[in-house]
C-alpha cells in the first residue's frame, strides 16, 4: 500500500502523469479513485476487495477521464489483458499510459457482500488464474499472495450446461435472460465495447431490436458474445454491472474456450501477441483465408 502511494506521489509530483487511477475506500468497499494531487495519493488502497477493471476508464469514450491528462492506471493481471487488447486494436498507445501492475491473489465477487477472500466470496474468474503478475506494466508492486481460494466453479457450470440436452440448455438461458431489461450496462462498463456506433443501435436495417422481448434479448446477448470471442479479457465487469445478475461470463468464457480450441489463442497481456480476429495463419484449415 505504502509502495503504491509512494509511487503515485512521485508520478504526480514529477509530472510524469496528471492522474493516477486506482482504488480508495468507501462505505461500500473500495471504489475507483482519480488522484490528481500528490497529497491525495495516501487515499490509494489495493487489496482483495479491488474487483473493478480500471482499464475501462482508458476506453475511448470516457472523455471526462481523458480530459484530466496522461493517466497512470493500477492493473491486476486480468485488467492488463484488457489494456493489451485496446493496444492491439489501436485504441490505446503504450506511451500514453503508465501501467502500475499489482500482484494479485484473487478478488472478491462483490466488496459490499464480503470483506474476506474465501472459496465462497471469490470472484468466479479468479480460481486457477495464471495472470497474477501482469507483464504489461511499467511498475510491478507488492509480494505475490497465495493463489486464489476455491475451485473453478465457472468451468464446471459450463461443463454442466454442455452436458444438458439442447432443450434443457435453451430453458436455462431463457430463464436467465428473461430478467434482461436491455439496459445495456454490460456494454457500457466493458473496456472493449468502444464502438462509436454499436451494432445494437443500427436501425436501418434493424439488426438487433432494442426491446426487452425474447427476440431482442437473445439477439443482443448472442451477438455480444460473438463480438467478444477472442477479444474478451475475462474481467467479469459485464456480469458484475448487470443489475439483474445474468451470468454473462458463462457466455464469454465458453466463447473463449472455443477460440482456444480452434485458434490456439488465449487472452494475454502481450500486446504483440496477435488475436485471432486481426490475424491469420497460413496453416488455417479454412480455404478462404489463405
Amino acid at each position: 500500500m505504502k509502495e503504491l502511494q509512494e509511487l503515485a506521489r512521485t508520478l504526480l509530483s514529477e509530472g510524469q502523469v496528471k492522474v493516477v487511477v486506482g482504488w480508495e475506500d468507501s462505505p461500500g468497499g473500495p471504489r475507483p479513485a482519480f488522484i490528481t494531487r500528490p497529497e491525495d495519493a495516501e487515499r490509494l488502497v489495493f487489496d482483495h476487495r479491488c474487483v473493478h477493471n480500471l482499464v475501462a476508464y482508458l476506453s475511448p469514450g470516457h472523455v471526462d477521464v481523458a480530459r484530466l491528462g496522461k493517466p497512470a492506471v493500477v492493473v491486476k493481471g486480468c485488467d492488463a489483458r484488457a489494456a493489451a487488447m485496446l493496444m492491439r486494436e489501436s485504441q490505446l498507445s503504450r506511451e500514453d499510459v503508465v501501467l502500475i501492475g499489482v500482484r494479485c491473489g484473487g478478488v472478491v465477487r462483490d466488496p459490499r457482500e464480503a470483506d474476506t477472500l474465501t472459496a465462497d466470496s471469490v470472484a468466479p474468474r479468479c480460481p486457477g488464474c495464471d495472470a497474477r503478475q501482469p507483464a504489461l506494466a511499467d511498475h510491478l508492486l507488492g509480494e505475490l499472495p497465495p493463489p486464489p481460494p476455491g475451485e473453478n466453479r465457472r468451468d464446471k457450470e459450463i461443463a454442466r450446461l454442455e452436458a444438458m440436452r439442447p432443450s434443457e440448455r435453451w430453458a436455462f438461458w431463457q430463464a436467465e435472460l428473461a430478467r434482461c431489461v436491455r439496459c445495456n450496462a454490460c456494454r457500457q462498463v466493458c473496456p472493449l465495447c468502444y464502438c462509436e456506433r454499436c451494432v445494437a443501435l443500427k436501425t436501418e436495417p434493424l439488426w438487433i431490436e432494442s426491446s426487452a422481448h425474447p427476440r431482442g434479448v437473445m439477439a443482443w446477448h448472442l451477438t455480444r458474445a460473438q463480438h467478444h470471442a477472442g477479444r474478451c479479457s475475462d474481467c467479469g465487469e459485464c456480469e458484475r454491472a448487470c443489475p439483474v445478475s445474468i451470468m454473462l461470463s458463462l457466455l464469454n468464457r465458453k466463447a473463449a474456450q472455443v477460440v482456444e480450441q480452434r485458434f490456439g489463442y488465449v487472452a494475454s497481456d502481450d500486446p504483440a501477441a496477435p488475436a485471432p480476429i486481426g490475424a491469420f495463419r497460413t496453416e488455417d484449415t479454412e480455404e478462404f483465408i489463405r
Binding site: S26, P27, D64, V181, N184, A185, L206, P243, V244, S245
Partner: protein, 360 residues
C-alpha cells in the same frame, strides 16, 4: 386516523388464494431462479419472501413494463392501418411492497398526468392495489428516512401492514384499500382501539446524511436551491469521473420513468411500435439527428440525473423524484453513492456565505 384491522398470516394466505382464484395477478417479493428476490407473480403466499429482503428491482415494471407494444401497423393495397395494442391491464394486487417502492408509484402519478395523461400507466394504476409492508430491515445504503418517508410510510399504499408477532396490523389508507377489505371482509378482523405502531427509526444506513436533519433549513430544500444556481459547478466533473454511464441506477430506480419509442418492423408490410425503458445516463438519450449532443459527456449526464430528481421535479410537482431505497448505490459497479453526492451538495448549500474580504 386510518382504520386499523388485523389479518393473520393464515388469513393473508387465504386472501392471496381468493385473489388468484378470481383471476387477479398477485405480485410479491419472491425468489428468482438465481436465488435473488424480485417482485413476481405468485400463486400462494408461501412463495412470497416477506422477511424484509429487498427486491432487486423496484415496482416500476408492474406499472411500466420494460417493453410494451403501443400499436401495430399494417400496410396493404388500401393504405396503412393502425391497430392499438393496449395491454388489457389485468387486475393486480401487490402484496408486501416496500414502502419506498409504493411511494415511488405515487410520486410518478404526477408526471404521468401532467402535459399528457399516460393512458397505459393509469390503466394499470387503476387496476392495481398496493399492500405495503412496513420495513423492519433497512439495507446498507437505504436512506428513505432522510427524505421524510421512513420505513413505515404509507405513501402510495392502499393498505399498510405492520408485522406484529404472527399477525399483521392493517392500516386502511385509501378507498381502494377499503374496497379490498370489504370484498374480503371475512379475512380481516376488527381491532377496536388498536393503533398503528409508531414509525420506526429513520433509515440512513450508511450515515451519509446524518447531521443534516438538524440543518437550519430542510436540507432537501437547500439542495434544490443550490442546484438551481450551480449548473456549471466543478462538482459535476468530480462526481462523474468514476461513473461508467451504465445506467444501472436508472433501471432499478422506483422513480425513473424515461422511455424510448421504437418501431420494430416484421418484414416490410407490418410492424409494431413499442415503448421501452431508456436511461439519461446513455449518450444516445440526447443525441440529436444533426449529430449534436447537448449532454456530450458523463458529467452532463450525471448532473441531469441529480437535477431532474432534486430540482426539476420538485419545482414542477413539489416532490423529489427519489424515495431513498438505495438501490442505485447498491447496484452501481463503480461505487457512486447518491446519498454521498447529496451530502456533498447539501454541505456546499448550507455552508455560510464566504465573507468578502474586509477593507481594513
Amino acid at each position: 386516523m386510518s382504520v386499523v384491522k388485523t389479518i393473520s398470516e393464515e388469513a393473508l394466505a387465504g386472501l392471496v388464494r381468493d385473489l388468484v382464484a378470481s383471476g387477479t395477478r398477485v405480485l410479491a417479493p419472491a425468489q428468482s431462479s438465481d436465488g435473488a428476490v424480485d417482485y413476481q407473480a405468485i400463486q400462494e403466499l408461501g412463495e412470497a419472501v416477506l422477511n424484509g429482503a429487498m427486491p432487486r428491482r423496484s415496482l416500476r415494471a408492474a406499472l411500466q413494463p420494460p417493453t410494451e407494444p403501443l400499436f401495430a401497423w399494417k400496410r396493404d393495397a388500401r393504405g396503412l392501418k393502425i391497430e392499438p395494442m393496449r395491454d388489457p391491464a389485468t387486475p393486480q394486487v401487490i402484496v408486501g411492497a416496500r414502502p419506498c417502492d409504493a411511494a415511488g408509484i405515487e410520486v410518478l402519478d404526477k408526471v404521468m398526468d401532467w402535459d399528457y395523461k399516460d393512458a397505459p400507466w393509469f390503466a394499470r394504476r387503476e387496476a392495481t392495489t398496493v399492500i405495503s409492508l412496513a420495513c423492519r430491515e433497512p439495507q446498507p445504503s437505504c436512506f428513505c428516512g432522510s427524505l421524510g418517508l421512513g420505513p413505515s410510510s404509507g405513501q402510495g399504499a392502499d393498505l399498510l401492514l405492520h408485522r406484529v408477532d404472527s399477525d399483521y396490523l392493517v392500516e386502511v389508507l385509501t378507498p381502494k384499500g377499503e374496497a379490498l377489505v370489504a370484498a374480503h371482509s371475512a379475512r380481516f378482523q376488527d381491532t377496536p382501539g388498536a393503533e398503528a405502531p409508531k414509525p420506526a427509526g429513520a433509515a440512513d444506513a450508511d450515515g451519509m446524511l446524518a447531521g443534516l436533519a438538524a440543518a437550519p433549513q430542510p436540507w432537501v430544500k437547500a439542495v434544490d436551491e443550490w442546484l438551481g444556481t450551480h449548473f456549471a459547478d466543478e462538482l459535476w466533473q468530480q462526481i462523474s469521473l468514476r461513473c461508467l454511464g451504465c445506467g444501472g441506477c436508472t433501471s432499478v430506480c422506483p422513480t425513473c420513468h424515461c422511455f424510448d419509442i421504437v418501431d420494430e418492423p416484421e418484414g416490410t408490410q407490418r410492424g409494431l411500435r413499442r415503448r421501452n425503458w431508456d436511461t439519461c445516463q446513455a449518450s444516445l438519450f440526447t443525441l440529436h439527428a444533426s449529430g449534436h449532443n447537448p449532454r456530450n459527456d458523463q458529467s452532463a449526464r450525471c448532473r441531469q440525473r441529480i437535477l431532474h430528481k432534486f430540482h426539476i421535479y420538485p419545482k414542477r410537482f413539489g416532490e423529489v423524484l427519489c424515495t431513498g431505497c438505495g438501490r442505485c448505490v447498491r447496484t452501481c459497479p463503480a461505487g457512486v453513492s447518491l446519498p454521498e453526492v447529496l451530502r456533498d451538495i447539501a454541505e456546499k448549500a448550507l455552508a455560510p456565505e464566504p465573507v468578502s474580504g474586509g477593507s481594513a
